[in-house]
């Protein structure tokens, strides 16, 4: 809470979108600049609009794609795409119908811009500093990397935004996470965010909007910043934000939905005023020293159960839940994960499926073969990324190593489209959730960076990537 004129980034974006201020009795009415929609969390909201005979208030601020239930199997043409399962096929068809009936733009199967909703927003330049962005998906926090206030909402709220372009919200508290120092080689944004979640816990950010700050964050490119903000929700915070700077502005230059030449200078001037004022006060703060961080891997069934890669799995702490998590993972306390044989490696998801992620994985895999018995799936975050990667020959690097190169989508992060980890198998995954059954019934998931995932595919066990650098 700030007195006087000093404000945090969050407080500035919040204030710019208040249609009606909150009172003791009523929440604020917050205006939404960009509503991203996908097939899984919208059908019931469209049903509501039909029942109440309401139109979509701002089709021009609504952007749809299909990513969760969609197949990633390679096809010659999109006509050949077979959606797995009757439910998923129905959902995809409903999404197409709803977008057509309500006049909404949909990046569907035939679009070159289709992809994971949190990958295509930034890629199109639709994600911009200072915007409010929502989507029926908790990883909407990703867009906060641009200095947007972006958070996941439920389906009822999707209906609210479709009908009114607004949400009823209480203002959150602010949490500054300062990441100082310099990362060692082989330690990436994924390792930083996993370390942060390990530090503050999976509920540590509840009720807060995080602002990630400090030298390490400033030095990161936009793709790394997106990885950081993406997993804010895994620490319980609905949104994570990073102040826009030269890196942000450079990224947005010339993208299809970025402000055009006539509006560009005005937009940049506005964006430059967004960073938290020097004397702004946060409700809470946490300091993370990055210099000693190592590649991180999870060992349990939530992202806060995480250790440096060569450390032993912690001793059971008396919490019955901790013991149960280790039993589910079939891991023993006191032993490092690097002894664990790996069955599946997944490189993808809204956390780590961008070009830089694929490049990092490819650099380790190049000229090598993945270990016998390991299945490795590489799923680019969007069709644009897929094309870019192919123009760099990355697909050949993966395929020569024995990995599968797929069409874009959420894929094995959530296992809704038929891409699942078989029961009992151990997966090293660049995704964001190691919950029980997340990647498939009985699947055992270790979350890691693209570097660690690729090294693990080569060695057939959880492996420290630094020996390949």
């Amino acid at each position: 809470m700030n007195a006087g004129n000093s404000r945090t980034l969050f407080e500035k974006v919040w204030a710019d979108h208040i249609v009606m201020a909150e009172t003791a009795d009523t929440p604020a009415i917050l205006y939404i600049d960009l509503h991203l929609i996908h097939e899984v969390t919208t059908p019931q909201a469209f049903t509501l609009l039909r029942e109440k005979a309401l139109p979509v208030r701002r089709p021009d601020l609504t952007l749809g794609t299909m990513d969760h239930s969609t197949p990633t199997t390679p096809v010659r043409s999109f006509k050949d795409l077979a959606v797995v399962g009757e439910g998923a096929a129905n959902q995809v068809a409903k999404m197409q119908d709803n977008c057509r009936d309500f006049g909404l733009e949909l990046f569907g199967f035939d679009s070159d811009y289709r992809g994971i909703v949190h990958v295509i927003g930034p890629e199109l330049g639709a994600t911009q500093p200072g915007k409010t962005i929502v989507c029926g998906d908790s990883h909407t926090s990703t867009h906060g990397a641009f200095g947007a206030l972006a958070f996941g909402i439920g389906t009822t709220e999707v209906g609210h935004v479709l009908a009114t372009q607004c949400l009823l919200q209480r203002k959150s508290k602010t949490l500054a996470i300062n990441v100082s120092g310099k990362l060692q080689a082989g330690v990436t944004a994924k390792d930083v965010i996993l370390a942060i979640i390990g530090e503050i816990g999976v509920g540590g950010g509840t009720g807060h909007i995080i602002e990630f700050r400090g030298q390490v964050i400033s030095a990161m490119d936009m793709e790394a910043r997106m990885t950081i903000c993406n997993m804010s929700i895994e620490a319980g915070a609905r949104a994570g934000m990073i102040a826009p700077d030269d890196t942000t502005i450079e990224y947005l230059k010339g993208r299809p939905r970025s402000p055009d030449r006539t509006d560009w200078d005005d937009a940049v001037r506005r964006w430059r005023a967004l960073p938290s004022d020097a004397d702004a006060v946060f409700d809470n703060s946490v300091d993370i020293r990055a210099g000693t961080l190592e590649p991180m891997v999870t060992f349990g069934t939530n992202p806060g159960m995480v250790v440096p890669i060569n450390d032993p799995v912690p001793e059971a702490n008396g919490d019955p839940g901790f013991r149960k998590a280790l039993d589910y993972m079939r891991l023993s306390p006191g032993k490092p994960l690097t002894e664990s044989p790996v069955d599946i490696v997944f490189v993808g998801s809204c956390t780590n499926s961008r070009l830089s992620d694929l490049r990092q994985a490819a650099d380790i895999v190049r000229g090598r073969k993945i270990a016998p018995g390991v299945t490795m799936l590489v799923v680019p975050g969007s069709q644009q990324i897929k094309h870019e990667a192919e123009s760099l020959g990355l697909h050949k690097v993966f395929e020569s190593a024995g990995a599968e190169w797929r069409e874009s989508g959420c894929s094995m992060c959530i296992g809704m489209n038929g891409d699942t980890v078989p029961s009992g198998r151990l997966s090293v995954s660049t995704s964001n959730r190691n919950f029980e059954g997340r990647q498939g019934i009985g699947a055992r998931t270790i979350l890691a960076s693209p570097l660690t995932a690729a090294a693990s595919a080569i060695e057939g066990r959880v492996a420290d990537p630094r020996r390949y650098l």
Binding site: D16, V19, M20, A24, P27, I29, Y31, D33, V40, T41, P43, Q44, T47, L48, R57, H68, S69, G87, A88, N90, Q91, K94, G136, S138, T140, F151, G152, I153, G154, T155, T156, H160, A163, T164, Q165, C166, L168, R170, S172, V202, G203, T206, G207, G236, A237, R238, A267, N302, D319, P320, G321, I414, M416, R433, F435, E436, G437, R438, I441, G442
Partner: protein, 194 residues
């Protein structure tokens, strides 16, 4: 949504922290396009064995839990995905309130929009409830209190607007729609367009 003012019920205790929405309703059941019928899949992978039969060890399958409308769960209930299918599944099954020391933000917001009452209480009371499964509790939404049999009423936090919507069974979209004119003015007067 149906109005919810008072709940008197026995409790089912789920002794686990950080219960995520993937456990409440696994993702493979999200391909539905309706909000009905999800109760059959509530806690599916804990409630049922791989062959589809009931897992007798799971709390909801114990005879004492039948008919209980209040779930007492470990810290940080409802973390993870934003799926509103989680409160839909709980309500469809017959759970009307969740008690914990902490409830995740998006799950809490979704619950309030559907008439599922989130009750956040102190650790001491929570410890006691966790060790007394099946006890009868009274939840008074109007006064935002939880009363354990023969005990005193404990306040739980809930903002006035959400409480009003719960006890009157009000759909929040109606409130937003009433401010159409303010929204239009905001759109017209803001200095830049998105």
């Amino acid at each position: 949504m149906d109005a919810v003012r008072k709940i008197r019920s026995c409790t089912t205790v789920l002794p686990k922290s950080d219960v995520d929405t993937d456990q409440i309703i696994p993702a493979r059941f999200l391909t539905t396009t309706s909000r009905e019928g999800l109760g059959a899949r509530l806690f599916n992978d804990w409630r049922f064995r791989p062959d589809g039969t009931e897992n007798p060890e799971f709390v909801l399958n114990k005879a004492d839990s039948k008919g209980c409308e209040v779930l007492v769960a470990g810290h940080n209930f409802g973390c993870g995905s934003s799926r509103e299918h989680a409160p839909w599944a709980l309500l469809d099954y017959g759970i009307r309130a969740v008690i914990s020391t902490g409830i995740a933000d998006i799950f809490r917001s979704n619950s309030l929009k559907n008439g599922l009452v989130p009750v956040v209480i102190d650790r001491q009371t929570h410890d006691w409830l966790m060790s007394h499964p099946g006890i009868t509790v009274d939840i008074d939404v109007t006064n935002a209190t939880l009363t354990v049999a023969n005990g005193k009423a404990i306040d739980f936090p809930i903002d006035g607007f959400s409480r009003y919507c719960l006890i009157e069974g009000i759909d929040q979209l109606g409130f937003l729609k009433k401010h159409d004119e303010a929204i239009r003015q905001f759109e017209e007067t803001r200095p830049w367009t998105p």
